[in-house]
């Protein structure tokens, strides 16, 4: 960061959101920007979408594979250099693929774990030193309602998302009181990841609130838990009432 003459300018708080070129991540980027944050907009392959979004919200687009711990560490350094210390990290990057157990090969299993769980681990270990130096920080991991209730043909996804819960709870204890760690575990949301099967009236009729969720609703939840000062180790699951237990 270059220093300038004159009084320090309040550049606002900084959030880094992985998987922000579409879906829930994109909605979260827009919502955090509206709340006054400078946003690091991470993407894996959709560079054009991330760059366009970053221009719209005066953020920075950053491409890397969250499964690669060194690439994630470099990304965090870039954000800290260009936007300043990171106040909030949102571990959102992910993908969803349905396959019966017998057809989950080692490549899919490992990739699922490295992206969904590793994305959280690698980003956490990269942002924690800076957050410790700042004396505060907030990490939000995106889980899934499926990690709470299970589901057929999604063993890798569910195991990885459930592992995120355990990881978050462990480090919520470990990093308190300086850094808060929470999970937002959405139900079915209208994003490119959602199977077409779940878009119609058939699925909606099984949801107590009668519809799937919107990305902006999840973004609102992410911002809320990111800023809730007395909340850590919590799992907040906006899911239309699918999980009532």
């Amino acid at each position: 960061m270059t220093s300038r003459e004159g009084p320090a300018v309040d550049r606002g708080r900084v959030v880094l959101i992985t998987g922000a070129s579409g879906g829930i991540g994109r909605a979260a980027a827009v919502r955090f920007a509206a709340a006054g944050y400078r946003v690091g907009v991470h993407y894996l392959t959709n560079r054009a979408g991330a760059v366009r979004l970053a221009e719209e919200i005066d953020g920075v687009a950053l491409g890397c594979d969250v499964a690669d711990p060194n690439a994630v560490a470099e990304m965090v350094q870039t954000v800290e250099a260009e936007l300043g210390p990171i106040d909030v990290a949102v571990c959102n990057a992910g993908f969803y693929e349905e396959r019966p157990l017998a057809r989950i090969d080692d490549a899919l299993w490992d990739r699922t774990l490295r992206v969904l769980l590793g994305g959280c681990f690698h980003l956490t270990r990269a942002v924690v030193p800076g957050m410790r130096a700042s004396g505060h920080g907030s990490i939000v991991m995106i889980g899934s309602e499926l990690s709470l209730i299970g589901g057929a043909d999604v063993a890798a996804y569910v195991a990885a998302k459930a592992a995120v819960l355990g990881f978050a709870r462990a480090i919520a204890r470990e990093l308190a009181p300086t850094i808060r760690v929470n999970v937002v575990a959405p139900g079915a949301v209208d994003t490119p990841l959602l199977p077409d099967r779940d878009r119609g009236p058939g699925y909606a009729s099984t949801v107590p609130l009668g519809r799937i969720g919107r990305p902006d609703e999840i973004a609102e939840a992410i911002l809320h838990v990111a800023e809730a000062p007395w909340t850590t180790g919590a799992v907040y699951s906006p899911n239309g009432g699918v999980v009532i237990q």
């Binding site: 299993w109 774990l113 270990r125 057929a152 990881f167 470990e174 990093l175």
Partner: protein
Amino acid sequence: MTRPTALDRPAADRPVALVTGAAGGLGSALVAALEADGWAVAGATHHGGPYAADLADPAAADDLVRRVIGTLGRLDLLVANHAAMTMAPVETYPVDDWWLVVDTNLSGSFRLARAAAAHLASRRGAMVFISSEWGIIGWPEASAYAASKAGLIGLTKALARELAPDVRVNAVAPGVIDTAQLQVDADSAGVDLDEIRRRYAAATPLGRIADPQEIAATVVFLASAGGAFYTGQVLQPNGGTTTA
């Protein structure tokens, strides 16, 4: 309700269980308890013995399940009990160590389940994954272990739905057990074994840590006729630590 237990069957007709991590404190108790209930048990260990398997190796699970079925003729119960455990602050946790814990505990158990599922379905069998209290409540400096053990709970719920009604899938998430594993905890806390036992006991409503045999009894129950209507559940013998 009185139903026959496995002990009532002739020896050649006894159901077969595969228990991983069989050399450890809980594992040896699991083998003894299942055998006492009439199971023929293949106890898999990291090294040595007829069922040696390094479950961090992706090829190990298929090979192990094949060996058990080849030797004992069938498989009715999988108890995934093996575990690796290290502790370190998350930001300095060596990445390779972190993934070794996750891949041994979670990926190794997944591969065992995948290897055994079709055969277990044909036998109307069961799986039990040994999770941990720390997979539910978390623990400082145990981020890899907690992630792996929470992941096993997700795996349990996913497979319970997917494999029903042919295979029942449950998890047991024990509290602190009095085994040699406690040395890792003691080292992390910088105290000796007696002190770590005392600390854990003081933090447990029942005022003590668990004996391996009482955790093994929970697994035997899930595998018995009395457990026949359980699937997708997480039983928590933990002395009351998760009531808060």
